[in-house]
């Protein structure tokens, strides 16, 4: 009890010391005038030494204030900071992200932005049916390019392939719909954009078809995948052909204007290619552009006498220039087909004469060989003689109809004659090679029979212009003895 009392007394005394000490100290204080004086001096000091604007804004953003609410606190944000932030976000989402998304391929995070936002916004910025068709064609190019890029990396899945095929169908449907609308208003423009769309589809399907043929022997699965896109493109082409059955030829002026646009674009593309392409590629592309320019000049001359013919020629030029544009502006197309297959060289008159002479010379040499072979008593001599006769007929036709044959038709005729001669020569070569083998092998008579039969049929096919496969299926069983004397 005594301890409790002493403890209480101690606490009381402790408290008393603090209170007494504090009470005494409180007597020392500023007078109101002193306080006002210091405050005024400080306010003046602040006014003469204000906060820098940057510090004011930055500090204001970090100052947290007690809002008088127990659940929330508040920030004081300057409007300038808010505006700057809004501008920053706008730049990020409207410029930077779409730019980054442009490189996205199916499966990337930003691909949805590319297809669902950027491309849709660009779609809304097309104001005429003609622009919409051009844009749908561009989208088509982009989808196919993405599929090819993924395939080159080995990342193309069946689902993506199906999506691309569906997109191809959707874009071509859209384009066809716009063309139908345009046709009701401006038939000339409709015909022009339809021609461009059809040409683009044709180039892509040619490229894919070529790729399919090449890869058939290498990778069956890849072939199967590209077939999905190819079939979509083929279907789109068929729809386009049906729709354009009644299309009229555009007016001469519109055709000239569109050709002018194409050539301008071609020169721009050529200038861009100077940075990236090899000199060889550049020379090839320049050659095609020069061909087009020459064809245009010829068309201008033709238009003075025969406007419908000039219009038809301009349509052909448009097709060529569009094919060339699609080829040059699509890397995946360039990777799969040669420029010659997309846009063959248009020879100048001098080149045509030179080529005709060269072809004639080649043909003459081959005919001499064939005549020598046909003079023998070998079993294949009658086939060779048949080929030789065909070649002579062609030569006679060329010689007798000089007025109706222009240089290009002569070249085509000579080329077909040479192909006949080559096939016959091939037949001779095979027989010469297979004969000694037959002596050694002896028991492989059936195999040799089939081989020689096919060779003979190829010659017949070339000469008669029919497919050798068709002939194989129809005549292999019926006339094996006549065509395979060596096997016997």
């Amino acid at each position: 009890m005594s301890w409790q009392q002493s403890n209480d007394a101690l606490l009381k005394n402790m408290k008393r010391f603090s209170e007494q000490f504090y009470k005494q100290a409180q007597q020392c204080t500023l007078t109101p005038s002193e306080r006002t004086d210091i405050r005024d001096r400080l306010v003046s000091y602040i006014e003469y030494h204000p906060l820098p604007a940057s510090v004011n804004a930055a500090e204001a953003t970090t100052v947290r204030t007690h809002a008088g609410n127990e659940v929330f606190y508040s920030y004081h944000l300057p409007w300038s900071v808010i505006f700057r932030g809004a501008i920053g976000f706008s730049v990020l989402f409207l410029v930077i992200v779409p730019i980054l998304a442009e490189r996205a391929v199916p499966g990337d995070t930003l691909y949805a932005v590319k297809v669902g936002l950027t491309e849709e916004v660009r779609s809304t910025l097309t104001f005429t049916p003609s622009q919409r068709v051009v844009w749908e064609t561009t989208r088509l190019n982009r989808r196919i390019a993405e599929a090819q890029l993924l395939e080159s990396k080995g990342e193309l899945t069946e689902a993506v392939e199906a999506d691309v095929a569906a997109a191809v169908k959707a874009y071509t449907d859209n384009a066809q719909r716009e063309i139908a609308h345009l046709r009701a208003v401006d038939t000339d423009e409709a015909a022009l954009v339809e021609l461009e769309l059809a040409t683009t589809l044709s180039v892509h399907s040619d490229a894919l078809r070529n790729r399919t043929m090449v890869s058939q022997s290498n990778n069956a699965s890849t072939t199967e995948m590209t077939n999905m896109i190819l079939s979509a493109l083929t279907e789109a082409q068929m729809v386009g052909k049906d729709a354009s059955a009644s299309t009229t030829v555009p007016s001469y002026e519109k055709l000239v204007a569109r050709v002018e646009q194409h050539t301008t674009r071609l020169y721009e593309v050529l200038a861009a290619l100077e940075q990236t392409s090899s000199p060889e590629e550049l020379r090839e592309a320049s050659r095609r552009v020069n061909d087009i320019e020459r064809a245009i000049a010829a068309t201008f001359v033709l238009s003075e006498t025969d406007t419908p013919a000039a219009q038809a020629a301009l349509m052909a030029i448009l097709q060529r220039s569009q094919r060339l544009l699609v080829y040059l502006t699509n890397l995946e197309v360039r990777a799969q087909v040669t420029l010659e297959s997309i846009a063959p060289i248009d020879l100048t008159p001098e080149e045509q004469v030179t080529k005709i002479n060269a072809l004639r010379s080649t043909l003459r040499e081959m005919v001499v060989t064939l005549e020598a072979a046909s003079a023998t008593t070998s079993p294949q001599s009658d086939k060779v003689a048949f080929a030789r006769d065909q070649i002579r007929e062609i030569e006679a036709t060329i010689a007798s109809t000089t007025a109706g044959y222009d240089e290009m038709r002569t070249i085509h005729a000579l080329e077909s004659a040479i192909s006949i001669a080559e096939a016959a020569q091939g037949l001779l070569d095979r027989f010469e090679v297979s004969a000694p083998k037959e002596e050694v092998v002896g028991d492989n008579s059936e195999v040799m029979t089939a081989t020689t039969t096919e060779s003979a049929l190829e010659v017949e096919a070339v000469i008669s212009g029919t497919d050798s496969e068709e002939l194989t299926s129809s005549s292999t069983d019926s006339e094996p003895e006549d065509l395979t004397p060596d096997a016997e």
Binding site: F21, Q24, H49, L51, A60, V63, H66, H76, I82
Partner: protein, 215 residues
């Protein structure tokens, strides 16, 4: 003064609610600064007056304290709580004031003591309070000037400014133990002064009584 247009944005306070309730971050920088003046100018003045014993000089030091703090704010530094920062600046200015006078050297005072302040590791706050309980606060306050400044400083901070040992340790950049030792010693000195004063008074009373008896 240039005004900045501000938008007040409310956000969930979360776990920081408790600490925010004790902060004085309200309004613009200027408003917060002047509010700090209203809140702490008296306490700072009192502290400075008790330390340097010169009212006019204390007013100047308080003014200088606030101008220095404003300069710190202008330099772009953020101040979460003004009170400890103001005391820190004030304390530095008081030390400068001592150095100007040159008649009192803190280092010399420490040397005179000749005791390692870290040797009182077991000294606790309750011991200090027990010692304080034996002292008359009113009389002790009157004898404050007789203490060396290192003791006067901690006793003023503890019993006038009502800061805890930890806050004082942060302010004067010493350990908490050192602060407790200094408070303890300061109180002991005050009590010794009081006892000698009482003894002197008793001697004086006895002398007067003796004189009266002789007469």
């Amino acid at each position: 003064m240039k005004e900045t247009a501000l938008l007040r944005v409310f956000a969930y306070n979360g776990f920081h609610m408790g600490s925010l309730l004790h902060t004085d971050n309200t309004g613009s920088q200027e408003e917060r600064f002047l509010k700090a003046f209203e809140d702490y100018s008296d306490a700072l003045f009192r502290h400075a007056t008790l330390r340097i014993n010169n009212r006019e000089r204390a007013i100047d030091i308080v003014h200088d304290t606030f101008t220095k703090v404003w300069g710190y704010v202008r330099a772009g530094h953020a101040i979460d709580s003004f009170r400890p920062f103001l005391y820190k600046v004030l304390n530095n200015l008081i030390i400068d004031e001592y150095r100007k006078r040159k008649d009192v050297s803190l280092d010399a005072l420490l040397a005179e003591e000749g005791v390692d302040e870290g040797s009182f590791a077991d000294l606790s706050e309750s011991t200090v309070e027990t010692l304080a309980a034996t002292i008359d606060g009113k009389k002790a306050f009157a004898l404050l000037d007789q203490l060396p400044d290192q003791y006067k400083e901690v006793i003023i901070l503890r019993f006038v400014d009502d800061l805890g040992p930890k806050e004082i340790a942060t302010l004067i950049e010493e350990t908490e133990n050192t602060v407790s030792v200094r408070i303890h010693r300061g109180l002991k000195l005050l009590r010794a002064h009081l006892e000698s004063q009482d003894e002197l008074a008793a001697i004086k009373r006895r002398t007067i009584k003796k004189h009266e008896t002789l007469q």
